[in-house]
């Protein structure tokens, strides 16, 4: 007890030296441990999501971009496919397709255009409100609702793609009708809309004044028996309401409308094998990937980088430990007079060793406490940190 008291007094008296030592020891410990926590969390997040998604269909190209966008709503949009891919899958009658169109965002959160099947597939449940039913309605992930402070009945604007492009994609005011329960997955950070709503955001579908009723002739470019060609001056709605929903319509062939991916839920293992075989052909426009395999490859790369980082940390840690030993050795030299005094007062060499060991113990304990506190902070934010550092 006396050794601890004296060691504490010494450390308090030499505050700057003690704090520096504590900081060094804490850093040496907290860096590799934090990395371990983050990698464990990233592995958990990435793998659990990938393992729960049997197959993904998308355009040929980067399988990683496809998986990251479809599973984690990454900003990197893969090559687009069309709704025909869904029709093809339905025609095969081997799997249930869930379309995804994840290209736009609202106030920094991805808008996921999909169908109600997605919620059943992911096991997502509503915490408030109801499911989206008509065009323009959205359901929010728990984190989105929390961070934007939105609830059913509120509105959310989709973000314009290009601020200075007048011909670009304009914001659509969407109505929040439900908020999902927290799932601790990327779904918490997403805004869900019907896939048709995302097509409206893209401009493929729109609502405007009834041109047959328009009296202002400057809004009409041409009238014929086949129809009316309106001028760009014609007012288009940027919000879908009960009053104007009937005016919303889509142009062109619905089969050509874009998707970023299709989640494919095979009926059984045999169907899965057949499907994968059908999309193996390299000349084809589509690919079917096993998300788990793609993520496993990604994790291998992450762990390779981790090994390099570990080696760097070991080197830096060793250098820091050597520096700490040097600091202690120099400190002992500076304290020779004091140690000689306590020796003359009757202190044994063993007690002097206890005193020094007590100092190291106190520094170690404080550093361990700080390390534990920092790790609990890292652990608390690991989910978000992983999404920021590894997924997005």
């Amino acid at each position: 007890m006396h050794a601890l008291f004296l060691a504490w007094q010494y450390l308090v008296f030499n505050k700057i030296r003690s704090l520096t030592l504590v900081a060094c020891v804490t850093l040496i410990a907290v860096l590799p441990l934090s990395l371990e926590v983050l990698l464990d969390e990233s592995e958990r997040q990435l793998l659990s999501r990938a393992q729960s998604t049997p197959l993904l269909l998308g355009a040929r190209g980067s399988a990683l971009d496809l998986v990251m966008n479809a599973l984690y709503f990454d900003d990197e949009v893969p090559e687009l496919i069309s709704m025909l891919a869904v029709d093809e899958l339905l025609a095969m009658d081997l799997a249930e397709p869930v379309p995804l169109y994840t290209r736009f965002n609202a106030r920094g959160f991805p808008i996921v255009g999909t169908t109600l099947d997605y919620f059943d597939f992911r096991g997502l449940k509503l915490a408030q409100g109801r499911q989206m039913a008509v065009l323009g309605e959205i359901v929010l992930g728990a984190s989105v609702a929390e961070s934007l402070n939105l609830k059913p009945g509120d509105n959310l604007l989709s973000s314009p793609q290009t601020v200075f492009d007048l011909a670009g994609i304009y914001p659509l005011k969407m109505k929040v009708v439900g908020v999902l329960e927290r799932s601790h997955t990327p779904d918490d950070l997403a805004v869900f809309a019907d896939v048709k709503t995302t097509w409206v955001i893209e401009g493929l579908g729109h609502g405007h004044q009834d041109v047959s009723q328009v009296t202002d002739e400057t809004l009409i470019m041409q009238r014929s028996e086949n129809g009316v060609v309106a001028s760009p001056k014609l007012f288009q709605y940027n919000e879908i309401t009960a009053d104007n929903i009937d005016s919303f319509h889509f142009h062109g062939d619905a089969g050509e409308y874009p998707l970023t991916a299709v989640i494919v839920i095979p009926d059984d293992t045999r169907s899965s094998t057949i499907l994968r075989g059908r999309y193996l052909e390299e000349a084809g426009m589509h690919q079917v990937v096993l998300p788990e395999k793609v993520i496993d490859g990604l994790l291998q790369n992450i762990f390779r980088i981790k090994n390099v980082l570990d080696a760097v940390i070991v080197l830096v840690g060793s250098a820091t430990l050597l520096a700490l030993v040097l600091v202690f050795a120099l400190s002992l030299r500076l304290r020779q007079r004091e140690l000689h005094t306590i020796f003359k007062l009757g202190c044994s060499r063993a007690t002097i060793t206890y005193l020094l060991a007590a100092e190291i113990l106190i520094i170690g304990l404080i550093a361990a406490g700080l390390c534990a506190a920092l790790l609990s902070v890292v652990d608390g934010y690991s989910s978000d940190l992983v999404r920021t550092l590894f997924i997005n």
């Binding site: 006396h2 008291f5 004296l6 007094q9 010494y10 308090v12 008296f13 030499n14 007079r337 004091e338 005094t341 306590i342 003359k344 007062l345 009757g346 202190c347 044994s348 007690t351 005193l355």
Partner: protein, 222 residues
Amino acid sequence: MINIQSLEFHYPGNGFSLAIEQFDVAQGEKVAVIGPSGSGKTTLLNLAAGIIKSERGSLAVANTKIEQLSDAQRRDFRINNIGFVFQDFELIEYLNVMDNIIHPYRITRSLQLTPSVRQRAIQLAEKIGISDKLNRYANDLSQGEKQRVAICRALLPGPKLVFADEATGNLDPRNKDRILDLLFDNVAEHGATLLAVTHDHELLPRFDRVVDFLEFHTPGPA
């Protein structure tokens, strides 16, 4: 109390040597040792306290042959019998005055730090005039105050022998008398012996005996 016969010691490397043929101090005696700087007065105290070990001769303190003791035994002997006031105070800078006074109790197993020890330390500090500085750090004290703390630390265990190496060297005349009174009171109270090294000739009449170091030892190269 102290009996030295044919004692020889030298510091390796620096050429200093000490040789004392015969030196005795009786129990309860108050002896002042004078002599020029570098003549070995402090070395004599360190030898008698068992801090350093003689090479030849006999050194008995309180009927214990110091040179026959192991390092640990010399340490225990010192803790239990000798109070040492060092020449340059040797206070611990990171401890306050109170903790400096009771420091020997924290670093040795032979001495037990009890509430009564603390109480005695406070009484001693009051007696010596530093009770208002018990919470101050050593670096915040004047030279005289540091010396008084060092004296308190030496006297607290109630030693049979008090070695004082220039104990009043840094004090003003009023405090010199006060410190000497305290030392002499303690010696009388415990029937202890005082062996004090001093350069201050004004104080010599207060001692029972004065030993001029040059008269009884033979300094010379090793």
